[in-house]
């Protein structure tokens, strides 16, 4: 069986496993669930009611429910992942929605650091001794840890990945 190309005008459901793949390069549901569990500790059961979809190469969405695939519509749940780069990258809104469930690769910032991150600034944070790569960036708000977005940690530096439209100078 030859693999079809991804169609950017419609949502295609992810195959359950890599063996059932019909569209070139499309990740499987199992690999997405594993990614969140293995890197961030987000329980696999979190996704039981969700279906996963791709629209445009490597843009993965999570939808709480089921629809027939493909679906030619404008939006389906929220974007959760980019899988087209060398490393998979969580999306800001997914981290805000599901990041509270994470136990690993979460970096807690002070009030001033969180404001700099939100403004889109990179900053030296040598105190982090966990994994490098994409981290969930959190701060304390109203008495609890609250995830803000995604940072890229390399060589002692936390690079803000806040999308331009979500950056704020508080």
């Amino acid at each position: 069986m030859s693999l079809r190309d991804n169609d950017g005008h419609q949502f295609g459901r992810l195959p359950a496993t890599d063996d059932e793949r019909e569209v070139a390069g499309r990740p499987s549901r199992a690999s997405v669930v594993d990614y969140w569990a293995e890197r961030y500790g987000i329980p696999r059961a979190t996704w039981e009611a969700y279906s996963f979809w791709e629209r445009g190469s490597g843009k993965i969405w999570a939808f709480r429910g089921e629809l027939d695939s493909p679906a030619r519509i404008q939006g389906l749940g929220i974007p959760i992942l980019r899988t087209d780069g060398e490393h998979w990258k969580p999306r800001t809104n997914a981290v805000q929605r599901f990041g509270r469930l994470a136990t690993d690769c979460v970096i807690d910032l002070s009030a001033g650091e969180a404001e700099a991150f939100l403004a889109g600034h990179d900053q030296d944070l040598p105190r982090w001794d966990g994994d490098w790569g994409y981290l969930i960036v959190a701060h304390e708000l109203a008495g609890e840890r609250e995830p803000v977005g995604v940072g890229l940690y390399l060589h002692g530096e936390l690079r803000s990945q806040m999308p331009k439209g979500r950056q704020r100078d508080l």
Binding site: R64, G65, D68, I73, Q74, G77, N93, V148, R168
Partner: protein, 301 residues
């Protein structure tokens, strides 16, 4: 027309108070997005910002605030949605339960969609439709910031909405149609500059088409909420009168903890079905809000 609001003098026993309220600026209001936080935490985060805020009283989770909400932590986290106070009415009246199938045919920019999803606890299917690509982009961005995962966003003319991607009917619909927007005059003082009776008649025809289609895709026994932000009877009671004549639907009474006036049954020599009195008119002077109109219908069971 030089002064469209003068048409309503015969409908109001306190016309001077109505006109005075329409000339006052509108307080800024935010709704707490309970998908992402609790009213208590949002309250605490506003306190810490600090942003002066007061509960509006009738609706748990609506705060009147001092200034714009956009540059605060609770907004960044999608805990708050900036909207008019009266925009919280249609989703509250619709009152969907988690797991239901709900249709929002004129959804952008998303105040009702995000409110409906919160009431559904993000469970069930919420179809948010709009016809305009630019407005859809605002809708998607608001839905994503608020963390909605049970929403399917579609682009179509709501009069011809296709159920094809969503086999099966809806349990509820919130039909908050495009309108002449008279009730937003406190927010947009030039809202009435372009007012003409021709425009009202044109938009009323679109409103009827959208309400018709929403009724057609709602199951027997289901609920359809019809709302506008205008006082114009041609866009309100006359549209309901049309639906009552064409479809097996009935207006139903509902509770709303705001001061309101009933729908009007006579206007410009026309008489409407007497049941339109069950609709509610919200005039700006009654609760210090924008203007609004809201009716609740049950589809024939």
């Amino acid at each position: 027309m030089d002064d469209p609001l003068a048409r309503y003098e015969p409908l109001l026993d306190d016309y001077a108070a109505f006109r005075a309220a329409c000339d006052r600026p509108l307080p800024q209001v935010v709704r707490v997005n309970t998908l992402k936080t609790s009213v208590e935490r949002a309250d605490a985060a506003l306190e810490a910002a600090p942003v002066e805020h007061d509960s509006v009283g009738w609706h748990d989770g609506l705060f009147e605030i001092d200034g714009k909400p956009g540059n605060t932590w609770p907004y960044v986290h999608g805990w708050l949605y900036g909207q008019e106070e009266v925009s919280a009415i249609p989703a509250a009246v619709c009152d969907p339960a988690p797991g239901e199938r709900v249709f929002d045919p004129c959804a952008a920019p998303g105040s009702k969609t995000t409110h409906l999803a919160a009431l559904m606890d993000d469970e069930g299917l919420l179809v948010a439709n709009d016809s305009n690509l630019g407005r859809l982009s605002a809708l998607r961005s608001n839905a994503e910031r608020c963390g909605l995962t049970n929403v399917a966003v579609t682009k179509s003319d709501a009069r011809n909405f296709s159920l094809k991607p969503f086999p099966g009917e809806f349990d509820r619909a919130v039909v908050d149609v495009p309108c002449s927007c008279e009730g937003t005059v406190r927010k947009n003082p030039d809202a009435l500059d372009e007012w003409t009776l021709d425009h009202v008649e044109g938009v009323a025809s679109v409103q009827k088409g959208i309400l018709d289609r929403a009724i057609e895709v709602t199951r027997p026994g289901g609920t359809v909420v019809y709302s506008t932000c205008t006082f114009v009877p041609e866009e309100n009671e006359a549209v309901l009168d049309h639906a009552l004549a064409e479809y097996d639907v009935a207006l139903v009474e509902y509770d709303l903890p705001l001061e309101t006036r009933p729908g009007v049954t006579e206007w410009n020599g026309e008489e409407f079905d007497p049941s339109v009195r069950a609709a509610k008119r919200v005039y700006p002077h009654l609760n210090d809000t924008g203007g609004f109109f809201c009716a609740k219908l049950t589809v024939g069971a």
